[in-house]
């Protein structure tokens, strides 16, 4: 008689190896998930976390290794098998149907039918039930595309719950959420845990891990490094496991005496986006611009850089007013932007690194309008090497690089423009691993030392506090606070970001 071995784990993977053309994405990794636990999965970008999740959910099939679900060996032939086995995933970029309603999104592929006819009324009601449990503020008949990212994520979670998933995987769940929304998410995770669901989540944020998880597994360079108790581990230990080396000075902020005023923005307003925004940056300064997602920071700098147009307001460069009507004007005046979404607006993924770097300056490098390939190659090689891009040739397609390296290409592109005075970096380390982050901060510091004026938009408190000389906080389209490096704390920034500080200021001004 065969003994049925009951495992103590709800999910167990052993010896998983996954190979793509030319690269080993996973190398003999293991993983164990206990029933009812919340388990964090951490690691640098490119460490293999996303691939691993895709193996669990049946999207990829591992070349080697075994997977056990509730003690029984499983072999998924596709995502459907994983779903039917009770595994659901909520990805960072909602994979949903924007033109269809919330109900349809939740029930896609497992609609409620009677004799082949879809029962809309019943589905709408059931979907509403799931939404109510998650404390949602929208209806199940709402159109998916009209919802915010946080709301869409809630629908994805509702979808997972509706499939009676026993294991739910969350991929960077708080990446696009405000602090408020993150709190809501934490509560939802608590609820799910109470109902007996086991959860795996990937996150770069240590706060998420400490708040939610009981154990954390670290991957590095496609390999399994270890699983640790969240209570017993420190940040430094975790970083060491993730990066393989100690990062002592994460924020190498050099002491720079600020020079002349480089950029000043006065009374900037754009209907529906921001109002009465004033700020300035001096040479050698790093000014942090922070706030919750949706505060209007990106919208402001995009107007300053000519991508969009403000309804009113003036821009002064080195004391003189300048008119910026399009990106070319901004670049001519030495105002360079590193955009928020490097894949959609910062790079051309199908192009080689070299051509990406020289895109804004093709004309400058040209001979009477004829492109000068040789000059472009030399110049792009120089700047790509300067920022230490991990690539073999300048012809490597940008799509083949990791997030951190792609960001470095964007930086190289900015540096290559050569006449810059003001550099505006929008979320420069979003989706970038710890190692590359440190390198980008080092570059920022060097640029400040050279006398450039730097504006850094960021939602990550540590880098705002670590790198800025001064901090502006925005909320709901207005600047609600200005803090110096010394007086800034996480609490005061959050207050300003959530309007409490702003209201106080306005009340005081009214007195």
């Amino acid at each position: 008689m065969e003994e049925i071995k009951l495992s103590e784990y709800v999910l167990e993977l052993k010896g998983i190896t996954k190979i793509f053309p030319g690269v080993k994405a996973l190398n003999n990794v293991q993983f164990q998930l206990k029933p009812g636990e919340v388990h964090a999965l951490m690691g640098e970008n490119g460490a293999g976390k996303s691939t691993f999740i895709k193996v669990i959910t049946g999207v990829h099939k591992a070349e080697e290794g075994e997977m056990y679900l509730f003690g029984k060996k499983v072999d998924f032939k596709g995502p459907r098998d994983a779903q039917q086995a009770g595994i659901a995933a909520v990805y960072q970029h909602p994979t949903s149907y924007p033109d269809l309603t919330v109900t349809e999104n939740i029930f896609m592929n497992h609609e409620i039918k009677k004799r082949g006819i879809i029962q809309w009324k019943q589905m709408n009601e059931e979907a509403q039930g799931y939404l109510d449990e998650l404390d949602a503020d929208f209806k199940s008949t709402a159109e998916m595309g009209a919802l915010s990212v946080a709301q869409q994520q809630m629908v994805e979670i509702a979808k997972a719950v509706s499939t009676r998933a026993r294991i739910i995987i969350l991929d960077e769940p708080t990446a696009a959420l405000t602090a408020n929304e993150s709190q809501k998410l934490y509560k939802i995770v608590d609820k799910l845990k109470e109902s007996g669901v086991s959860i795996i989540f990937i996150s770069h944020r240590f706060e998420d891990m400490y708040r939610l998880a009981s154990r954390v597994t670290v991957f590095r360079d496609s390999q399994y490094i270890g699983t640790y108790d969240v209570n017993g581990i420190t940040n430094a230990d975790l970083i060491k496991a993730m990066v393989g080396r100690e990062i002592n000075d994460l924020f190498p902020k050099p002491e720079v005496k600020p020079g002349e005023e480089m950029l000043r923005v006065e009374n900037f307003s754009r209907v529906g986006y921001y109002k009465n925004v004033n700020f300035h940056v001096r040479a050698g300064e790093i000014v942090g611009l922070t706030g919750l997602v949706g505060a209007g920071r990106t919208e402001v700098v995009e107007s300053v850089c000519g991508i969009t147009r403000q309804s009113e307001g003036k821009v002064f460069l080195e004391g003189k007013e300048v008119a910026i009507k399009n990106p070319t004007d901004a670049m001519k005046n030495g105002i360079i932007l590193l955009p928020e979404d490097r894949q959609k607006t910062g790079l051309i993924l199908s192009w080689g690194l070299g051509r990406n770097v020289t895109l804004p300056i093709v004309k400058k490098l040209s001979n009477n309008g004829f492109t000068n390939d040789k000059k472009e190659r030399e110049l792009s090689r120089k700047f790509l090497e300067d920022v230490d891009t991990k690539a073999v040739t300048i012809f490597d397609p940008a799509s083949s690089l990791s997030g951190g390296n792609q960001q470095k290409v964007v930086v190289a592109k900015a540096l290559a423009q050569d006449n810059m005075k003001v550099i505006i970096m929008d979320e420069p380390t979003k989706g970038v691993d710890v190692g590359a982050k440190a390198e980008i901060y080092a570059i920022m510091g060097e640029l400040a030392q050279k006398g450039f004026a730097i504006i850094m938009i960021s939602s990550e408190m540590p880098e705002i506090l670590g790198m800025s000389d001064r901090i502006y906080v925005m909320c709901n389209g207005r600047v609600t606070g200005e803090l110096s490096r010394e007086e800034a704390t996480q609490e005061t920034i959050l207050e300003f970001a959530m309007e409490k500080g702003g209201k106080k200021k306005r009340e005081e001004a009214a007195k």
């Binding site: 949903s96 924007p98 269809l100 039918k113 921001y274 709901n476």
Partner: protein, 332 residues
Amino acid sequence: MEKKSLLKKITGSREASLVIVLIVLCIAVTIKSPNFMSAQNILEILKNNAVIMIMALGMLCVLLIGGIDISITSTLAFAGMTIGMMYKYDMIESTLLGFAIATAMGAVCGLLIGVIIAYGKVMPIIATMGFMYIYRGFAYLVAQDQWAGADALGSFKDFTLSNSLSFGLINNTITVAIVCYIVFFIVLKWTKFGRCIYAVGSNAEAAEISGINVAAIKTAVYTIMGTLAGLCGALATSVYASAQPNMLTSKEMDVIAACVIGGVSMNGGRGSVLGALLGALVLSVISKALPLVGINAIAQNTIKGVIIVAVIVLNVLTQRMMDKANLESREM
């Protein structure tokens, strides 16, 4: 969430605004020409535009998955010409058989296109452009420089003249159209297959991950389009009482235009059977109405084109106005 006022709901719904446009048009024309709204006239309009209306259903599905098909009139001609020749050379006599053959041919034509697009990963515009040439060529080959006239078609052409299908109530052609519309309405709204079509059009990647067989759905949609085109090949032959290899050349744009006016998005995922119907009706009313209000028939195409451009531009402008109003209502 704000409660939408009834007015906002109506102006927000493309279908609703089309109904209003249609009503306004009909009233305007009837004022000038009281005969317009007579039952006879309405039925005549429906009969003459049945082919475009039916094919608009197929195009609706194709557009819903984010594709396009410009080969439909070539398939139509190929199917129609084939049965025309079969009637001419007395290879078949029964009307039913003629319809069956034409529809089956259309299905095969559509299937081939679907397989090449879904599994061969060829872009729809290119694939259907290629087949547009191929199927039209086949139509000419079958014709061998001849054509099938009224006498050659025998009793087949009587199909359009009789009311047999609806037990004497309405013209057969219109009955066929009504049946098609009912079927598609049910399938698209109440069956899983129909909802999968919307899903694939809205986000094909997500559909794939959900476990939906995207390639199969795409193939099915193009097959459906081909089937309808084949059916319409037989129908057109009957309506025009002749089969010629150059039947309905360039009319594929009319079918696409009907869908566009009807609010079907070319990006996929948006559109309805009602919209396609209204779009086709608006177009057919306009063409019939123009001569009645004194506009020369020769200007028909220009007016049609101007209306299409006006509709899509208006669409954009109203969307921009709504966005602007949204922004202005935001409290800063």
